[in-house]
Amino acid sequence: MGDLVIKNLCQSFPRDDGTTLSAIEDLNLAVHDKEFVCVLGPSGCGKTTLLRMIAGLDTATSGEILLDGSRIAGPDPKIGIVFQEYSLFPWRNVIDNVAFGLEMKGVGNDERYRVAREYLDLVGLAQFAKSYPSELSGGMRQRVAVARALALDPVVLLMDEPFGALDAQTRNMLQTELLGIWEKTKKTIVFITHSVDEAVFLADRILVLTPRPGQICEDIVIDLVRPRDRTSVEFAKLRRRVLELINQPKCTLQ
């Protein structure tokens, strides 16, 4: 299962002048099992803050995050994450990066490498098992990061603008690959992006986040059939609708 429920979530940080900065205020959302949700919003609207709280890396000021009914209180193997920055351990080769989570769990050598190889296969990089991250391109690194997150078989996969640093062509390719992986593994995916195009291409549902304090101002169901064609009329229409929605006053005003 992978039902994610967020209730009355608030996050604020103390500022140097003594006041507090409210990054997220009273945020509520529900992500269903096996759903692909994109969180869309401009830079600095608290998208990453939200994701880090779901991941259990940061603690909310108030409110709660429930995964299948139980509260998230810290990093949990049921939740995997792919960061925006390159996060592979440079001192480990690709296969040892993918096997890292299993190694921490105490899984034996043979089993660990078997599983790691399986997930490397899934992202199409089996032949780079012995390479080091510095020898890979940006797109390949992020694919390995996806394999590494999936190797622990989490129920929820969080992705923080994972393709943000890649060129447009690689980006489109990886989006298609990600959808393939999602269809095969059926994880719940929460994907953060600031690209409307990316969100419309990937998501079952787009949640639009307002700038500080972050709140959800629109919940848009994307019912376009997959595989989606970026150049189709329907796609363009949907993209225009999403653009209109995120530009309306309630989504832009602070």
Binding site: A55, L57, G74, P75, P77, I79, G80, I81, F83, E85, Y86, S87, L88, F89, P90, W91, R92, F100, G101, M104, K105, Q127, F128, S131, Y132, P133, S134, E135, R148, A149, L152
Partner: protein, 275 residues
């Protein structure tokens, strides 16, 4: 892309670097030869006093006379013992303390003032206490070398641990590496290792430099540093130069061996990050 394609590319880069090094190496050799020639001419024709400035040939003959006496092996052994004691202790103290200070802000705040006050005291200033505490033993020479070597190791370990990228810690946590000792072992230490290794390399150099002084006060009857002073007392300056050159060459050898291991170990994952 087939697996084999990446390999030759990497090989090529290495070949390229090696070739480039080879092409320019004769320049360095030329400088060495020139320096020797100038030194020889200056000493033999202008100074003409082998006490004030022994010429390279004087030094060469002195070297053969020392070889004849057969004392060099004992010198090497003695000096390596002193150096080994000092460096080993520096590693045993510097790395754990550096890790603790780099990992825990509390421990850092606690120990930092003490370290900062001790650190600028020159290793040679510890010689009186080295003698009082350890007597005229190898340990007392080792202690002076330890003082010289421990701080570079400690500081580099500390800064390596301090600058572990947050993203690796977060990624580790999300993959189930949450216990403190696991995070140190699997994330912080490997991430800091290049910095630790650089610290050890600096410490090797500093420690070696302390050797001559550490052997100056007579902890043994042999040793490269000891005999350097001994032959100075005998006014055999050509032999003094022999020991100077030996000290320099061994220091250089340490550095080269160390660099070779560092390159072999870290280059494979740091290429592209340092270049």
């Amino acid at each position: 892309m087939p697996a084999g394609v990446k390999e030759p590319g990497r090989e090529w880069n290495r070949m390229d670097r090696l070739l480039k090094n080879h092409r320019d190496r004769w320049l360095g050799a030329l400088a060495l030869v020139l320096a020797l020639v100038i030194w020889e001419i200056y000493a033999a024709l202008i100074v003409r006093n082998s006490f004030l400035l022994p010429s390279p040939t004087d030094v060469l003959f002195a070297f053969f006379s020392i070889l004849d006496k057969g004392i060099l092996l004992a010198d090497f052994t003695e000096s390596f013992i002193h150096f080994g004691i000092g460096l080993l202790m520096a590693l045993l103290v510097g790395i754990p303390v550096g890790i603790a200070m780099g990992w825990s802000r509390k421990f850092d705040a606690f120990l930092d003032p003490v370290i900062e006050i001790l650190r600028p005291i020159p290793p040679l200033a510890w010689i009186p206490f080295a003698i009082i505490w350890f007597g005229f033993t190898a340990y007392s020479a080792g202690f002076v070398i330890f003082i010289g070597a421990v701080f570079p190791i400690l500081i580099n370990t500390y800064s390596g641990f301090r600058s572990v990228p947050r993203i690796y810690v977060d990624a580790g946590k999300m993959l189930g590496c949450t216990k403190n000792q696991d995070m140190i072992r699997y994330i912080a230490f490997p991430s800091a290792l290049p910095s630790v290794a650089a610290g050890i390399r600096i410490a090797t150099g500093v420690g070696w430099m302390c050797l001559v002084a550490a052997e100056l006060f007579g902890v043994s009857n042999s040793g490269l540093g000891f005999n350097l002073w001994h032959y100075y007392d005998l006014h055999q300056m050509d032999v003094v130069v022999v020991y100077m050159v030996l000290l320099g060459l061994i220091g250089l050898a340490f550095d080269m061996i160390f660099r070779y291991f560092i390159d072999r170990h870290f280059l494979k994952w740091r290429t592209g990050e340092v270049a």
